[in-house]
Symmetry: C2
Subunit: 371 residues, 2 copies
């Protein structure tokens, strides 16, 4: 799709802008694209469950650089409802069988895969093969190998790839990232991130079915806790140990209910995470040489809220996080803005997830990470 | 000192008052004593370091039911300074050699042992043998065996015993205990307690010398984190796993720097603690079915501060915690009030401390607790 010479040019631009990625192991992806800045990109949502219905579709009414252009659903009854509600033309409605014909649809620029985790890799790879840019909902996939396959497919197809970590486009989280980047409170000695919510109202949900989810709390909110610990520490961890707790095994039969894990970071920061499908947890805290910072609404749809030891509230007006996220990705495609959540970040987190499960299997043994 | 018949009477009184201990494995010790309620008990401080100088002695100027009557010090130069500052008669000043002659001093009712941890057992047992009631600073001792020996000695001498966990007499902590006892927010699913402070300014301090301290952060602030997790959960743990982190081994050569541990509680609560001599940590949090509660100044000298999900600040006027603590113990002795921190609580915590060190030795293995 793009010439070699343009890609070389893009690299030069990225260097010239002097952008610095927070995680130095995740490559920058500041490509300068030929698409006009004014173009609003068409997004197709794949999978019309709760998250698409109540978060993504409403957010796409607020986005400036992209819009809801199409849907892909396995439930025929949803087609008419969505078509009417969001004015989606018939030719932009797909099912899982005819999805690949989306390749010929020039009104769809981005495919956002919002299916159960175990279906991410299949549909992301098919979307890439259809020449569409890809947003893959978190967790990126159910294994490191699948994450790598998605990255490879997008690279081969020369399409952009992002993971649905909405918080990187969200101002409270960005303020935390600024505090960390600027070392506002000096060395960061300890970070703790706790993310979870009770999932005990609906035993039939796919998140509790390992074949569809790949895992329980850790795959659901645990990746947010991993993310939080990493952006609070400002670097990737070098080791992890982990423990699993099962307090309601009659309900959580197939997937992990509560997991804690401990990280070591290169600069000496110690990290702790807890995730749960039994406890409501929504916190991020860092203890530094010269103070502390925290979000005590840290991962949910917002508005988030936090404070620092400088007696400063971290508080911004409510905006739909997913609108900010999808606009950021659209600007990455159209204007070469930074890709805030490249596929490599999703891959990194699955490496950590796999190490956590491995540590649990080994009775809490410390696992060296290479992320 | 007291007749059998009086002790039997005391037990009946304790039952009649209907007092309920939060930790059901810790026996009540509500003995009704013959000492008049109006008598102010004389306390002798053993060891005149920072804690005695800047916390206990000033607190004893504010107590109503006890007063600073004597000192025991190994540093002759301190004798004159303290005698003048606190008007202590010469006959109430002891050194470590002649300490046992305190048995004949009727103006000393309580001996408060504030020495390095490894010296607690020796001086507590000697104080008991001298017929004095005993307050043993935390951690109670450097081993379970020593804790048991102190308890046995006090029982044999028929004197009262408490451990210096000042927070049990402190209103913010008591409010947390009330919330837990009354299940204000329903079932408690997760508790986390983090307690620590940087100890990197003075490499020669006894807390970093294992022969004197018995251990590092865990023995110092870790016991507060253990305490916090337990009173936030409202029950004693049944298992623990733990990890040790060393980020500054050149400084923390002899003792543990940072430790995390995970607890399981009988009712299903999962607990987490972190303690450190490298990071400043002072937090307690609980996630419950119907809300949450927290102290975010949780263990230091106060005033503490907290809040709950009922949008309620937990905030009380500043009072010296140690004054409240020593008055409570005096009232236990003189009026049969509850012993808020019996020796058995200190013993329990050392059992947990030993299990934490054992889990670390075994690479994070889960250890069953019997406390």
């Amino acid at each position: 799709m793009k010439s070699i010479s343009r890609r070389s040019f893009s690299k030069k631009i990225a260097i010239a802008t002097g952008s610095v990625a927070l995680m130095n192991t995740i490559p920058l992806a500041c490509a300068f694209e030929s698409t006009p800045a004014t173009k609003s990109l068409g997004i197709a949502l794949v999978g019309l469950g709760t998250y698409s219905s109540y978060e993504l579709a409403p957010s796409l009414l607020e986005t400036k650089h992209c819009h809801l252009a199409g849907i892909v659903t396995g439930t025929p009854s949803k087609e008419k409802i969505w078509a009417e509600k969001y004015n989606i033309p018939k030719e932009n409605i797909y099912n899982y069988e005819n999805f690949d014909t989306i390749i010929t649809n020039s009104s769809i620029d981005i495919v956002y895969v919002v299916l159960p985790n175990a279906m991410h890799a299949d549909f992301c790879i098919r979307a890439a093969k259809a020449g569409k840019h890809v947003i893959c909902e978190k967790p990126m996939a159910v294994s490191v190998a699948e994450c790598q396959a998605i990255i490879d497919a997008c690279k081969k197809a020369n399409v952009k790839l992002s993971v649905g970590y909405r918080l990187h486009s969200e101002p409270h989280t960005q303020e935390i990232q600024r505090i960390v980047r600027e070392k506002e409170f000096g060395a960061i000695n300890f970070v703790t991130a706790e993310a979870g919510y009770p999932s005990n109202g609906n035993p039939g949900q796919w998140r509790l079915n390992k074949a569809l989810s790949g895992g329980g709390a850790l795959m659901n909110m645990g990746v947010y806790a991993i993310q939080g610990a990493i952006y609070a520490a400002g670097e990737n961890p070098i080791s992890v140990s982990a423990q699993e707790f099962s307090t309601n095994p009659g309900y959580y039969k197939d997937t992990d209910e509560t997991i804690s894990a401990q990280f070591e970071f290169p600069s000496g920061t110690v990290g702790n995470i807890v995730t749960s499908h039994n406890a409501k947890l929504d916190r991020l805290y860092a203890a530094c040489d010269k103070g502390w910072f925290e979000l005590d609404i840290a991962y949910t749809y917002g508005p988030l809220h936090g404070r620092t030891s400088a007696a400063k509230e971290i508080s911004y007006p409510y905006q739909r996080q997913q609108a900010l996220q999808m606009d950021d990705f659209a600007l990455h495609i159209t204007q070469g803005a930074i890709n805030r959540v490249p596929g490599e970040m999703g891959l990194r987190d699955l490496k950590i997830v796999e190490a956590i499960y491995e540590s649990i299997r080994l009775g809490g043994e410390k696992i060296t990470l290479d992320v």
